[in-house]
Each structure stands twice: as structure tokens, then as C-alpha cells.
């Protein structure tokens, strides 16, 4: 029973502990990484253990895994710290780097490193490293130069890192000049790579755009020297540090050596006339610079000291000494002097209660000068007193370690008093002012990671041709469609009108043809033709369907069109008489036949005239 309770308790503790672990693991990360996961035997690679996030002061007891079992440690551990401020939030990281080489071929694991952080033990991930058999030529740029890459340039071409001092205080800058010494012709091959600094904050002083030679005698020989770069290093931790080598790849022109074995032949061709040159690629490296960084003395260390080193002056000012409540006043602290201005933190200002204050607006102006940085940094605090009365802002203190005098210096500003009058009530209610004060407490939103379109200016506007094309296209289509529609209508749907217009002509033609039949004595054809002329005319001019053509409907239609009754009767009589004549058994006389022709013709003409009068 007792034992079970014990187990339960243990489990609970473990659970809570692991829960807590995962809670802060979101902020603090301890990871391992390699710069390449596959190398050939004999090639170097780097393993880095990084602790990121959180406060770096709280870790202890970093333990690297046993690397020497499978690998050969060439260098390390070198530690580096970095601090980043992203939108006002500071994050820092520390890393330990080892340079390793494989001992044999195969796949090896790099076991986890451990670290204590706030009482918890953190472990990194394990890594796998594949080491393959060295293949000659792999990893080298192709070309003829690779055969000669082991060329010994001796002291004809080298690069030096020249520090101005090797023993400094924490925070005291070291100027390192990288200089190339040369007695042969060369050409820079790739851009210069500065080493990743470990334990230093670096600041470029000078990077010449063009290399300018100067003459210098070094170790008894005369060289052309080129200043490659000048860098300021501010140590950020005490102890024995090293400034890593600086690398630069160059092309050198060297004489190609012939080895034929034939002595006489060689001597003949060793004449400069037959010399051939070729470009050889070579990587130059400076040595490591060991630096001793002394911690700052403990004696007389001021209470408010935050690690500032250099020499500074402080200027504190308040832009007004009397104002109304809810108005704004600005307190400005300017630090001016020499030292690592970029890392200057905001001074500690104690604000009295009853005054709202906001994060300062920071202005920085720093440039390298005289082996350190010179410039100023200003912090402007906006103050909004909320109540009337008289408040005083206590003195602002700022301490630093003076490098020249080797002692601590503290600047103290005078104290300020603010006379606050009764606030303007209307003004206070003014929502613009109120909103703006709300915004004072906020920071800007973070930057956007995507670059957006990055278009050329005005290219968002569609081109004129396109707009015109888009606008004209439908109108061209519309006009085209109208023309086509007109033609189609003419061809298909206006047959009625066409027939109407042609009705008289057709009737006349038929009548005249019937006359010819009469001359020839073809009575049947004569009657048929007259009937066709009359019926055809009636049908076409009145647009009657064939099925509806009767005498009655013809008369109705005519009268519906507003034709006078007598005209309609005339046409009806003509139709009646022609029908009668066609089908009557008795033969009509010659006069009667001719009279029928005249009747039909007259009926058509009068009907036509009447219809035309109506439509016009």
C-alpha cells in the first residue's frame, strides 16, 4: 500500500516535471547540427550545439558528448553568443562548435550533448554522420587548376591578421587589420568571407572597394601589401578567446613546370620564351589570434552598472516644465561618446506615479573612429501626466567603465520638476487625442517576410493598347453581328415583303403570257394563266398562306387592309368570272374571253393602287 503511494507520487513528480519541461521548451531550444552530413574521409566538418531563446545566464554545466571515439577533434569547443532584438523582444543564443574529422569510413552517430537550464537537464538531438571513402578530386572545382592546388607559394603570398592589442578588458574593442602580402601576381577569386565570430560583437571599419597596393618590408623582404579589411571586435565574454581565421580564395599565375626526364631537353625549354603559365587557385588563411579578455574589476563597481565600457557623456533634458494634464512632454536622454554604441541599453529612469510613460524612441548614430566606435544614442520618452499637481522626476544615473582611467564613472543628471495644470476636459474627451495616446502604448506590427511583387513603378496599370483592345473588341463584334443579321434577315425572313413587291410584276407577266396563249388558240392554257395571275397576285400581295386562299378570305383581307369595298368587289368579280369561265361546260365567245382578260387586268391594277395608297 505504502509502496504504491510512493510510486504514484514519483509518477506525479515525473509528469509535472516533464510538463514543465515541455512548457518552457517552447522558448528554450537546445539543438545540434552539422554543416554537412556527408563527408569524405579526411575532410573536415563542424558540429554545433546551440542553446537558443531564454536567458543565457541560467544555463550551467554544458557537457559535450564523447566525440573522440569516432572522430578526431581538430578544434573546439569555440563558443559564440549572439543577441537579436526582434520588435523589441530580445532573444539570445549561445553555441559550441567543434571542428571534426572522421577516423574511419562508415556511418557514425554524434551522441547528444547535455546542459542544465534552470535545474532541468536538456539534451540535444542525435545526429548521423556518413563518412565515405575519399575520392580524389571530389569537392574540388573542375579544371586544370586542381592538379596544382598543393603548390607551395612559400612566403611569396600570404595573409596576416594584425590585431592592435591582445589583452583587453571585457567590452574593450580590438582592431584587427587583415592584410595581404604579395610578391607574385594574383587575382581575388571569391568574395572575402569573414569568420563567424565567437564571443565577439564585430563591426566593419573599412572594406576597400578596390585593393590599393603599398610597399612594406616584412621579415627582410619587400612586399606589395593590400589592406583587405579592418574590423572592430568587441569581446562580449571574459576569458581566453580566439579570433577565427579569415579566409580568402585567390588565383595565382605560376610557371608550369615540365618534367620530361630529359635533362638537355628540359634545359632547352626552360628558356623563358617557352614558359607557359597557368592560373592556380589557392585558399589563404590567417592564423588564429588568441586574445585574453580580462573581466572588469570588481572593486568600486557601481550598483547600476550594466557593463558599458568606453567613455561617455550624458545629457538629459525635458522639453517643457509645465503642462496640462493629458498633454505630452518628452524626456530625452542622450548618451554621447566612444564605445560599443550599438549595444547601449536604455538608461534606467524612474518615473513618478501618476505619469504614464511609453517605450522610448531610440535614435542611434554611430560610426567607427579611432579604434572604437564614436557617436551618440538618444532615448526619448513620452510622458503623459494624468493628474494635476507637481511631480518630480528623480535624477537619471548612468555608469560605465572608463578604459583610459581604468575606473568606473557615474554620471547623474539633475532632477526635473513638472508643473501640471488642470487638464482640458473637452480636450480629454477628444477622441483623436485619446486614440493617439492609446497608440503610444503600442509597438508597430512585425515586418512582412514576403517581398511582394517588387514591380516597376506604374506597371500595375494595364497598357493603353490592351484597354483599347478590350473596349473596341465587343463593338467591332457588335457592328459585325448587326451587318450579318441584316443580311440574314433579307435572305430569310423578308420573303413576304419580297413577294409583295414582286406580286404585280409576276401578275403582269402571267397576263401577257396568257394573251399569247389566246392568240395561239390554246384556251385551256389561257384560262389557267389568267387564274394563276389573279390568285398569285392575291396570295403574294396579301401574304396569304396557300391553304387559306379562298375568294372570301381574299376579300376579307383586302377590306381589313382598309381597301375600299368597290375595289375588293372588283377583284372578287374577276376571280369569280375566271373560275366560272374555266369550269363552265359552254364555250365562251371571243369577246367574252378578251373581256375576261381586261377585267382581270383592271382588277389587279386597281387593287395594287389601293394597296399602295394604304401602305404609303
Amino acid at each position: 500500500m505504502y509502496a504504491r503511494a510512493c510510486i504514484c507520487l514519483c509518477l506525479l513528480v515525473v509528469l509535472v516535471a516533464s510538463g514543465a519541461h515541455s512548457l518552457f521548451a517552447q522558448e528554450v531550444q537546445f539543438t545540434a547540427g552539422v554543416n554537412r552530413s556527408e563527408v569524405a574521409l579526411g575532410e573536415q566538418f563542424q558540429v554545433t550545439f546551440t542553446l537558443a531563446g531564454g536567458s543565457l545566464k541560467q544555463y550551467s554545466d554544458f557537457r559535450a558528448p564523447d566525440l573522440n571515439k569516432d572522430f578526431l577533434t581538430l578544434a573546439g569547443p569555440s563558443t559564440s553568443q549572439s543577441m537579436q532584438i526582434i520588435n523589441g523582444r530580445m532573444s539570445s543564443s549561445i553555441s559550441w562548435t567543434y571542428v571534426l574529422q572522421g577516423r574511419g569510413v562508415g556511418t557514425f552517430t554524434i551522441p547528444p550533448a547535455t546542459l542544465k537550464y534552470e535545474g532541468q537537464t536538456l539534451r540535444t538531438n542525435t545526429l548521423r554522420m556518413k563518412i565515405s571513402r575519399a575520392v580524389p578530386g571530389t569537392g574540388q572545382p573542375s579544371g586544370r587548376s586542381e592538379e596544382h592546388r598543393d603548390i607551395d607559394l612559400g612566403d611569396n603570398l600570404f595573409i596576416r591578421a594584425i590585431p592592435n592589442k591582445r589583452t583587453v578588458f571585457l567590452g574593450e574593442p580590438i582592431t584587427v587589420t587583415y592584410k595581404l602580402y604579395s610578391r607574385v601576381a594574383f587575382q581575388l577569386d571569391s568574395p572575402i568571407k569573414l569568420p563567424r565570430m565567437i564571443g565577439f560583437w564585430s563591426e566593419d571599419v573599412e572594406t576597400p572597394r578596390q585593393l590599393r597596393p603599398s610597399i612594406e618590408v616584412y621579415n627582410g623582404k619587400q612586399y606589395e601589401t593590400y589592406m583587405m579589411r579592418k574590423v572592430l571586435y568587441f569581446p562580449t565574454q571574459a576569458g581566453s578567446l580566439t579570433i577565427d581565421p579569415f579566409e580568402v580564395a585567390i588565383n595565382v599565375r605560376v610557371r608550369k613546370r615540365r618534367q620530361t626526364g630529359d635533362d638537355y631537353f628540359d634545359r632547352f625549354f626552360s628558356d623563358p620564351f617557352f614558359d607557359s603559365y597557368e592560373n592556380v587557385k589557392k585558399t589563404l588563411m590567417t592564423g588564429k589570434i588568441p586574445v585574453t579578455v580580462k573581466p572588469l574589476p570588481e572593486e568600486n563597481k557601481p550598483a547600476g552598472f550594466t557593463g558599458v565600457v568606453g567613455s561617455y557623456e550624458m545629457d538629459v533634458s525635458l522639453d517643457r516644465d509645465s503642462l496640462k494634464a493629458n498633454e505630452t512632454a518628452a524626456l530625452k536622454v542622450v548618451l554621447r561618446g566612444r564605445g560599443n554604441i550599438r549595444l547601449l541599453d536604455e538608461p534606467r529612469v524612474t518615473f513618478p506615479t501618476g505619469i504614464d510613460h511609453y517605450d522610448p524612441t531610440i535614435k542611434e548614430d554611430a560610426r567607427p573612429a579611432d579604434g572604437t566606435m564614436r557617436g551618440s544614442k538618444s532615448f526619448e520618452y513620452l510622458l503623459v501626466p494624468r493628474f494635476p499637481g507637481r511631480v518630480s522626476i528623480p535624477p537619471v544615473e548612468f555608469s560605465y567603465f572608463d578604459l583610459d582611467r581604468k575606473r568606473y564613472v557615474t554620471h547623474t543628471s539633475p532632477s526635473f520638476t513638472l508643473q501640471i495644470a488642470e487638464g482640458d476636459v473637452v480636450r480629454q474627451a477628444g477622441d483623436l487625442e485619446q486614440r493617439m495616446i492609446d497608440y503610444l502604448a503600442m509597438d508597430v506590427r512585425p515586418v512582412k517576410n514576403n517581398a511582394g511583387s517588387l514591380k516597376r513603378e506604374n506597371s500595375g496599370v494595364a497598357s493603353l493598347q490592351l484597354v483599347l483592345l478590350l473596349y473596341m473588341l465587343p463593338w467591332v463584334a457588335c457592328i459585325g453581328a448587326l451587318i450579318w443579321k441584316r443580311r440574314y434577315d433579307k435572305l430569310h425572313s423578308d420573303i413576304v415583303g419580297l413577294k409583295r413587291r414582286r406580286a404585280t410584276r409576276v401578275a403582269e407577266r402571267r397576263l401577257s403570257r396568257s394573251k399569247a396563249f389566246l392568240e395561239r388558240g390554246d384556251i385551256e392554257a389561257y384560262y389557267l394563266e389568267i387564274a394563276r395571275a389573279l390568285w398569285g397576285y392575291a396570295q403574294d400581295s396579301l401574304a396569304l398562306p396557300t391553304s387559306q386562299v379562298t375568294i372570301l378570305s381574299v376579300v376579307e383581307r383586302l377590306e381589313a387592309r382598309g381597301v375600299h369595298h368597290s375595289t375588293a368587289t372588283k377583284l372578287r368579280d374577276a376571280l369569280n368570272s375566271v373560275e366560272y369561265a374555266r369550269f363552265s361546260p359552254t364555250r365562251a365567245s371571243e369577246q367574252e374571253m378578251r373581256a375576261l382578260y381586261d377585267t382581270a387586268k383592271e382588277a389587279i391594277i386597281t387593287a395594287e393602287q389601293a394597296l399602295r395608297e394604304r401602305t404609303v
Binding site: Q84, I85, I86, R342, T361, I362, K363, E364, S378, E380, L382, G430, L432, E433, R435, M436, I437, D438, Y439, L440, M442, D443, V444, R445, P446, V447, K448, N449, N450, A451, G452, S453, L454, K455, R456, E457, N458, S459, G460, V461, A462, S463, Q465, L466, V467, L469, L470, Y471, L473, P474, W475, A477, C478, A481, L482, K485
Partner: protein, 254 residues
């Protein structure tokens, strides 16, 4: 003949495809972002400005540049770049927020004049879409109008014609509105009618004359409307309607 028509059409379409620049731009942009994260704002500004000076623009570029200027303590330039970002995307909430954050730290408080409701509607509508959207709208409506005209003239039936006439009028009105929206938006984009005060304190003169009396004073970061400019002096108007003349060098156009 036919081939010429085709190549013209092709050219028209090709001219709207933006040219693709080398990855170098993107690289510099990312480097600038890195510098910003390391709190090296001055270097970030230099890199962003180098992209700007080559004529490349994007909302994000101006936005980030505004952030960098603000962090570096340059309020005027910060406001200028947020305003520029808002010129490209007028209703972006992030840029509006940041603009207000920076404005809160400037000295001038100008209450804008209230606008009549339909002016406000018009402005809201104008700013709610990209210009291309208006262009597409107006084009489609124009086509519809053409169809209505075709139906009106091409068909005889009374009801069809009446319908075509009615819808034609609707299309014509809608087309006019969307076309005007497009034109005004383009004008807003290209005209640079507003400017931001760059100097910490600028006296505003009552007349374009060195001896004119000083009517009021404006400070860094204030956005003003430019009414007229003769090279050395600029006639400006504040959001509350006050106007006057300031040296052209004291302000920078958005």
C-alpha cells in the same frame, strides 16, 4: 495581314506580363530583413532604399522600410513609407496600425474634416479593390452594353427591344461608374497628391512670398495635401482645411 493582327494581339497581351528580375533583388531583400532582425536598422534601411531606388515597389517593401525607419527613430520617413504602402493597398490593417503608432509619436494633432456620406461611400468603394478589378468590371460591363446595343438594333420584336434598351441603360451606368472608379484609382496611384513633412518644425506662410506672415507651424510626420507647387514653395492644405505655403524642400511627396 492575318499574321500582323495576331502579332499585335500577342504584343498587347505580353505587355501586361511583368518582367521577372534576377534573384539578386530577393536576396538583398532578405538580407535587409536579416539586418532588421539584428536591430541594425540603418543597414536595413540602406538595403531597402537601394531596392526602391532601382524603381521596384511593393506594398511589403514600403511597409518594412517604414518599420525600419520608425525603429531607427526617423518618424517622418516612417510615416512617409507607411503612407506609400497605403497608397498601394489603402485598406491594409497592419499598415494603418503602424501609421497610427508612428503618428501618435509626432506632435501635430489634426482632426480631419468630416466628409459628406456619398463622398465617403465613393472613397470606400474606390479603395476596396485593386485597379485591375475595376478594369475587368468595366470591360465586362462594356461588353454587355455592346450585346444590348446589338439586340436593340438587330431584333424587331417590341418586348425584346424594350428589354435591350432597359438593360443597356443599366449597363451603361454601371460601366461609367466602374470606369470612373478605375480612372480615379489610377490617378490616386500616380498623382502623388499628398506629402509628408520631413523637417522637425516648418512655419506655414500665408502667401507665396518670403515676407508673408507666418500663420501656423507644422511638425515632422504630418501628412498634408499638395494643392500647388512652383518649385520652391508649395501650397499645402491640412486635413482640417487650414492651408498655407511651405518650402517645397520641407516636405516629401508620398
Amino acid at each position: 495581314m492575318n499574321r500582323r493582327v495576331w502579332s499585335f494581339t500577342l504584343l498587347c497581351f505580353l505587355s501586361i506580363i511583368p518582367r521577372v528580375d534576377a534573384g539578386d533583388l530577393r536576396e538583398r531583400y532578405d538580407e535587409a530583413l536579416g539586418k532588421y532582425r539584428e536591430a541594425r536598422y540603418l543597414e536595413a534601411i540602406t538595403l531597402f532604399e537601394s531596392i526602391c531606388s532601382e524603381g521596384h515597389t511593393s506594398f511589403e517593401l514600403y511597409y518594412n522600410l517604414g518599420n525600419a525607419y520608425y525603429k531607427n527613430g526617423d518618424l517622418g520617413k516612417g510615416i512617409l513609407n507607411f503612407e506609400r504602402a497605403l497608397r498601394l493597398e489603402p485598406r491594409n490593417p497592419d499598415a494603418m496600425h503602424n501609421l497610427n503608432v508612428v503618428r501618435a509619436r509626432t506632435r501635430d494633432r489634426v482632426e480631419p474634416m468630416p466628409l459628406i456620406f456619398f463622398v465617403r461611400w465613393w472613397n470606400d468603394l474606390k479603395q476596396s479593390y485593386k485597379p485591375t478589378v475595376f478594369l475587368i468590371w468595366s470591360t465586362v460591363l462594356f461588353w454587355c452594353l455592346a450585346i444590348a446595343v446589338f439586340v436593340f438594333f438587330g431584333f424587331k420584336a417590341r418586348i425584346t427591344r424594350r428589354l435591350a434598351l432597359l438593360s443597356g441603360i443599366v449597363f451603361a451606368v454601371a460601366f461609367t461608374i466602374s470606369f470612373l472608379l478605375y480612372q480615379f484609382r489610377i490617378t490616386d496611384l500616380n498623382e502623388h497628391r499628398f506629402a509628408v513633412v520631413m523637417e522637425s518644425e516648418v512655419p506655414v506662410l500665408s502667401a507665396p512670398d518670403e515676407s508673408a506672415i507666418e500663420s501656423f507651424v507644422i511638425h515632422e510626420g504630418l501628412t498634408v495635401e499638395v494643392l500647388d507647387s512652383d518649385g520652391t514653395l508649395m501650397n499645402i492644405r491640412l486635413a482640417d482645411g487650414k492651408s498655407g505655403w511651405v518650402p517645397a524642400s520641407a516636405v516629401e511627396r508620398i
